[in-house]
């Protein structure tokens, strides 16, 4: 689905990431960890085509991002649900319309399946906040709304960048449970986090691989957690 082959990325100056090779298999569950500033967000951006690698090749669903047009990348993003570190919404639209935004921009008729929408909002625990505007949401509610928005199009892959970054432990457990449920439904999941206790909590529920970025390279972390 997403393949990185000997990828490097540099923002100018030295390389932030080098010699990164990875194949995300369907249905796999990955954690991505590493110290702050190590390049976790950059790595995820390479995975959804927001950045073009400075060396090596990134393949999204069998297409090289270098040869993809801007529209190809936009279409590719419809198959990859991303939960951003700082989840942004359209502040003038209520939560339900924000969650449905991927369908709207894909040209779907006004999210015809209202029952489906209700179910999705109930699943992330936002049923009663459907008509609220994004600025009225708490940090945890924003993260869950972002997750609902990321999965509404039933993407093949879900990438989450520090989804529990600014929420309390109970809430991050809840979010993790949701991501694990998605993985059980066959979705590929990758979560970037520096929170090792979150990784430990997940390990008892799901077969997760832990990747660590250290010294600009991607390593498979073993049982040393």
């Amino acid at each position: 689905m997403i393949e990185l082959d000997n990828v490097a990325y540099s923002y100018g100056g030295g390389e932030l990431l080098s010699e990164i090779s990875l194949k995300l298999a369907p249905g796999s569950f990955h954690f991505l960890t590493g110290p702050s500033g190590a390049g976790k967000t950059t790595f995820l951006k390479l995975c959804y085509g927001a950045l073009i690698p400075t060396a090596g090749d990134v393949m999204l669903f069998g297409q090289n991002v270098r040869t993809m047009s801007r529209d190809d990348i936009a279409l590719g993003r419809r198959r990859i649900g991303v939960v951003h570190q700082d989840c942004r919404f359209l502040d003038h639209l209520p939560v339900s319309e924000n969650v449905a935004l991927p369908l709207t921009v894909a040209g779907a008729e006004h999210y015809s399946d209202i029952a489906n929408m209700k179910e999705l909002l109930a699943w992330v625990g936002l049923s009663r906040r459907a008509d609220a505007l994004p600025p009225e949401l708490s940090g945890g509610e924003r993260q869950r709304a972002a997750l609902a928005r990321a999965v509404i199009q039933s993407p093949d892959v879900i990438l989450a960048d520090e989804p529990t970054g600014n929420i309390d432990w109970d809430m991050s457990q809840r979010l993790l449970t949701l991501l694990i449920e998605l993985n059980r439904m066959g979705k590929t999941v990758m979560i970037a986090t520096h929170d090792l206790s979150l990784i430990r909590a997940a390990k008892s529920h799901v077969q997760a691989r832990v990747l660590r970025i250290a010294n600009r390279r991607l390593q498979l972390a073993g049982a040393d957690l």
Binding site: K45, A50, L51, R70, D71, A74, L75, G76, R77, R78, V82, H84, R88, F89, L90, D91, H92, L93, E97, L101, P102, T104, V105, A106, G107, H110, R149, Q153
Partner: protein
């Protein structure tokens, strides 16, 4: 860009859902509307000026081709003989197509604006006028004057061309100026709408980023802005055009007597031309916003 009517209609009808993704902005909307209206208003006047100048040039050119007149002063008893002699001279001049003495009625009509209709022409020493129609190449005015001086001493040749030609040139220059003004107003509208669109795109940077993140194509995002600005420009231009037309129709009419100076208003089918202004300004807005949106979007990841 090809204009497919059904696609254009679908574009104007829009997608209510897509429209909602860009938040409504109050102040710039009114500025865009106002500027489009002002531009359309000015365009109506520039158009009226160009068309009037064109009419003026055409009228004067047409009269110019009629050429010249001969004015003959002679004692009443010799008038008929001298007129006949002058006509013979004229008919034997190369370049003169025809020469015809004006009848007493025609002369009275010419003088009526100055002396009133009841002028007893017979009692006054009014000169006889002879209308000369030139051939294409024209005639040698100086040679004709010399021959007339020898054979019909009371005749004076009045060559209209000499003083009308600069007027026709001036009218043509005025018309060109009018068209240049129309082009400048169009270009200024494009610049103004580009600035407004850029301001809107900058103000909505977060909206654009969110839309990109959830998989919106550039075309989708651009259209939300392009449609909005095209509709504003269309609406503003329509209002401005109507105001301009009302103003032009209130201009005093020159009337038949002064048709020589022609009114600045619009005539006949020319009244239909200003109705092209709103669609033209709409197309300008469509194009300008499209370019601005695509340029901005291509700078984003």
């Amino acid at each position: 860009m090809k204009l497919d009517p059904s696609a254009a209609l679908a574009f104007l009808a829009g997608d209510a859902q897509a429209d909602r993704v860009v938040p409504p902005a109050g102040f710039t909307v009114r500025l865009t509307l106002f500027t489009s209206a002002a531009m359309a208003f000015l365009m109506v006047f520039a158009l009226a000026l160009s068309l009037a100048a064109g009419r003026l040039a055409a009228t004067w050119s047409a009269e110019l081709s009629q050429g010249a007149t001969l004015r003959l002063s002679a004692p009443a008893e010799q008038m008929a003989a001298q007129t006949a002699a002058a006509i013979i001279v004229l008919q034997t001049t190369p370049g003169v197509a025809s020469a015809r003495a004006l009848s007493a009625d025609e002369q009275r009509a010419l003088l009526a604006p100055w002396f009133g209709p009841d002028l007893p022409l017979e009692d006054l020493p009014v000169p006889q006028l002879i209308e000369i129609t030139e051939e294409r190449g024209g005639f040698d005015a100086e040679g004709l004057r010399l021959r007339l001086a020898a054979e019909v001493p009371g005749a004076v040749l009045d060559d209209h061309a000499r003083w009308r030609k600069p007027l026709v040139r001036a009218a043509n220059a005025l018309r060109a100026l009018g068209w240049v003004s129309i082009l400048l107003i169009g270009a200024a509208s494009a610049a103004m709408i580009t600035l407004a669109a850029n301001a809107a795109l900058a103000a909505n940077a977060q909206v654009i980023e969110v839309l990109r993140q959830v998989g919106a194509t550039d075309g989708y995002i651009a259209q939300a802005f392009v449609r909005r600005f095209t509709l504003r420009a269309l609406t503003g231009a329509a209002a401005g055009t109507i105001a301009g037309l009302i103003a032009v129709s209130l201009l005093p009419s020159a009337g038949a007597e002064a048709s020589f100076l022609t009114g600045l208003g619009l005539r006949g089918w020319h009244w239909l031309l200003p109705f092209l202004i709103p669609p033209v300004l709409g197309a300008v807005a469509f194009w300008a916003t499209g370019v601005a949106a695509r340029t901005t979007l291509e700078g984003l990841s």
